[in-house]
Symmetry: C2
Subunit: 232 residues, 2 copies
DNA sequence: CCGGGATTAAAACAATCGTTTAATGGTAGG
DNA sequence: CCTACCATTAAACGATTGTTTTAATCCCGG
């Protein structure tokens, strides 16, 4: 049976996840993985077919619960009687990230570096594979956000959703660089702190009026730079 | 002298930049670079010592002007009589990115993908090399931002600066994924559009009051996490 | 015209990569 | 006990990697 607690397959997955998160997929050899997992080299090709199959499985087992949690959070929010607020929607999107980092059974802090690497891996074949369900998640949130932000054009809501993903991903993925620059240490607990600190930032960002000044058009920019309070 | 317009060194740099931006450093072989540049394979080791030397030079020649422009913009802003506004500071930080993308002599749209890859390359040795001057830039901006945001604790300003970098980097680096998800095309002109759309977002984000609630005892809006067990 | 450092060229280097093959261990069912 | 099947092991495969070597070529000052 494959459901033993410490099976070869699981040890390979754990070792691969650790190394992928640390040095990326391309720089991680199968020999490094099997050495860390203390299994035979050929076990990877036996259980996963190829390195690409292993990569796909490593990411799938983390991204799938994340997407599912995000969708479930949003649906639960919309099943309520009251109309969800902007802040609630944004928290529903970001909180599963912190939950994953908190739970060692779901990867713990390691999975966060892995998620950062997900966006980093260029031209990954598995990327287009997961882009489908990821797009579905973003589409749902886009619709929900447009509903609570009627004064923001949907295209701008789309962009701001991308900004949110970037702001959420970068400090987690670039843990080393952030630590080096900011001096602060990013312990696993701090990952939820990132979400917590990011929430008011993006909430205000989504509510901001869109700038209507085109780079082409030459409107007098002196008035445009003066801060106008347009929040409700 | 080696400063001829179409020297071997320049062609190697251009080809390496193109391929690094497209598929990352680890997945790009020297043979692919020299084939694209139509130079001999050994020319790389002759002119740059090693592949790592080439990588370092490729990034240095783009990151150095970017850091310099950001510092120059901030200094020019502070030399004025009037106290700079928050929006002006943020635009001083972000606008050099759009300038680089607009100018083909400075890399054009390719350099943007390269910058995205910069943060993506995990455990890069050249990273710590450039982290020094990058930290200097961030420190200057952090001080300037704290001055116009006295009500925000400096630690939060530091975090929000990281959020800004993430929101700025991600849509540019993940061009393919963003296009796939949002449907919009990211032409070189659109890079400056990203900066333009991001400015009001982050301006409002920096002004947002910090959340004083503790992450421990926070009212959960919807907790659908821990969706399933791993083992069957 | 010549000579010599700088540059380019072709070829081979050792090392590492992902993958495959063949042999072995171990266990459940007949 | 044997067979069939799954899992694991050791060993080698061919291909590709970055790098080095060696020779040929260029280019310019004398």
């Amino acid at each position: 049976m494959t459901s033993l607690i410490d099976s070869t397959k699981d040890r390979i997955l754990a070792a691969a996840e650790e190394l992928f998160a640390r040095t990326g997929v391309a720089r991680t050899s199968l020999r490094a993985i099997t050495a860390l997992a203390r299994v035979n080299l050929a076990a990877v090709n036996y259980h996963f077919g190829s390195k690409e199959g292993l990569v796909e499985e490593v990411y799938r087992r983390r991204l799938e619960p994340l997407n599912r949690a995000r969708l479930a959070n949003l649906e639960q929010l919309q099943r309520r009687r009251r109309k969800p607020s902007l802040e609630e929607i944004l928290e529903a999107f970001m909180s599963p990230v912190a939950s994953l980092a908190r739970d060692p059974a779901q990867g713990g802090p390691t999975v966060m570096r892995l998620l950062g690497q997900t966006h980093a891996e260029a031209e990954a074949p598995y990327k287009s594979y997961f882009a489908g369900e990821y797009k579905r998640v973003l589409d749902r949130y886009h619709a929900a956000l447009c509903r609570v932000l009627p004064e923001i054009p949907p295209a701008d809501v789309r962009w701001r959703l991308q900004f949110l993903v970037g702001a959420l991903t970068y400090p987690v993925a670039e843990r080393q660089l952030v630590e080096l620059v900011s001096g602060e240490s990013m312990s696993p607990d701090n990952v939820s702190q990132v979400v917590h600190r990011l929430l008011p930032f993006v909430t205000a960002g989504f509510r901001a009026p869109v700038s209507h000044a085109k780079p082409r058009r030459r409107r007098p920019p002196a008035r445009a730079t003066t801060p106008r309070k347009r929040q409700e």
